[in-house]
Amino acid sequence: MTVYALETSGLTKQFAGFTAVSDVGLRVRRHTIHGLIGPNGAGKSTCFNLLTKFLAPTRGTILYEGADISRAGPAEVARMGLARSFQISAVFPHLTALENVRAALQRRRGESFDFWRSDRILKRYDADARALMAEVGLTGWEETLAGEMPYGRKRALELATTLALAPKMLLLDEPLAGLGQEDVGRIAALIKRAAEGRTVLMVEHNLNVVASLCDVITVLTRGKILAEGDYAAVSANPAVQQAYLGEMAEPAHV
């Protein structure tokens, strides 16, 4: 067993003559919250999609809990306990909130191919789904259609659905993007709670949150790793300041 939950080496992604991610060696220690930051166009999203297997790397390897997942598919790594969230809140809009969480529970326990049985058997997951929803403060929202929930609640629902997979590691793509100030604090607290006993890697623009949540931060610019360390070390790094200062001065991303 390595101390790293996720480890990449030489990770590279090229799109038609353009190298979005170049030779990235990222190491995420088990049971830490690891932030991936960088100015716009730094390759964070591409890097993230490589790790979640929604994109296939041009070169390089990805080890998850010591196993090589460089060639695995996105559904396969999800079943291995590497669960992701999406930048634009991803819910099943015409399912109720409870059914959203159940969709994850149902897949994990099998029987999703049973087309001859009544869906009433899915009610057996209701108690677990309610408990997961209570954990993210969504008690009372069970019967609401996910598409009709306010944005902050959708994010909480997405987190509950992701946690229903009982993942070992969470990959969060800008979990606080588009949230109001009140929701930012609430979702950040939820992430901190969800990270107990788990590894979390998050791409995030909100540097205040990154500073308070993340144990380790990797700074990406132009597809390459520029610096790595805790927030104090990274923010004191002159190279980071130079690459990032304009971004940090702008309040637009908060």
Partner: protein, 326 residues
Amino acid sequence: MTHALPSSQPTAARPKPAEFLAFAVLAALLAVAPLAIYPFFLATALCFALFAAAFNLLVGYSGLLSFGHALFFGGAAYVAAQAAKVWAWPPELALIAATAFAGALGLGVGALSIRRQGIYFSMITLALAQMGYFLALQAPLTHGEDGIQGVPRGKLLGLLPLSDDRAMYYFVLALFLAGLLAIHRIVHSPFGAALKAIRENESRAISLGYSVDAYKRVAFGLSAALAGLAGGAKALVTQSATLTDMHWTMSGEVILMVLLGGMGTMTGPVIGAIFVMAIPEVLNRIGGPNFSQWMTVIQGAIFVICVLAFRRGLIGELAARARRTL
């Protein structure tokens, strides 16, 4: 963590009782329909209605627009005809063979076609169906332009002779209702729930660990099997299997039926199929053969009007209106 909840939370619509009511009304109407309409025409119409319902399982509930479903409908008709005529199998066995054949074929076609999405998916299904058509045109087994004629209907379970149109109709009605119930069960099963999640947000379903292609394959296979049951039944009703049922226009016609009636609704495809079947009959009766030359034009006009006026189809629009007024 305690947060105040907003006072008015919308709740999900639960249309289940209405669906069962619609099913009961439909079954009752169809049970007495032979009093007013020729049973032969009704039986044929029900075969198409089941075909449309099976197609709807794929397009309406899985979001996959196959443009080659005639392959399963027409192919299964040949299998049933061959089994009943040449091998002298009883009708129930011939239908099981037809259904199994179409289901297996569907799994194969599905495995190939769902590797691509959207229009490319549709084109692969069309191409494979056309291959099937030319095979049926050339193979000695299917007798080219003639097709298989004079298929005996046989005796159901060795007891009930189906040669009488009325008996045949009630057998087809039973098959049709069983088919609808099967579709209802599939849609409202754990598998159906997974399909719905995949259709709602495919990336999210993948990220939850669903191997979405496998689900689509099974949905394709189930839809093809039920289309095969419909095709097999039609071969027994009309006592023939011909190229018409395998032609690409048949794939188009079933799309028309489902769109007219209402995609993703339980009774919509049935109404759509009966509607499409009834138009030529009614026009014939009103205007005679001269009028029926304009059939395609009139059909096209009706289709355009329906799609423009009722985007959700006849039943889909009714259901939406009812929900709004409730």
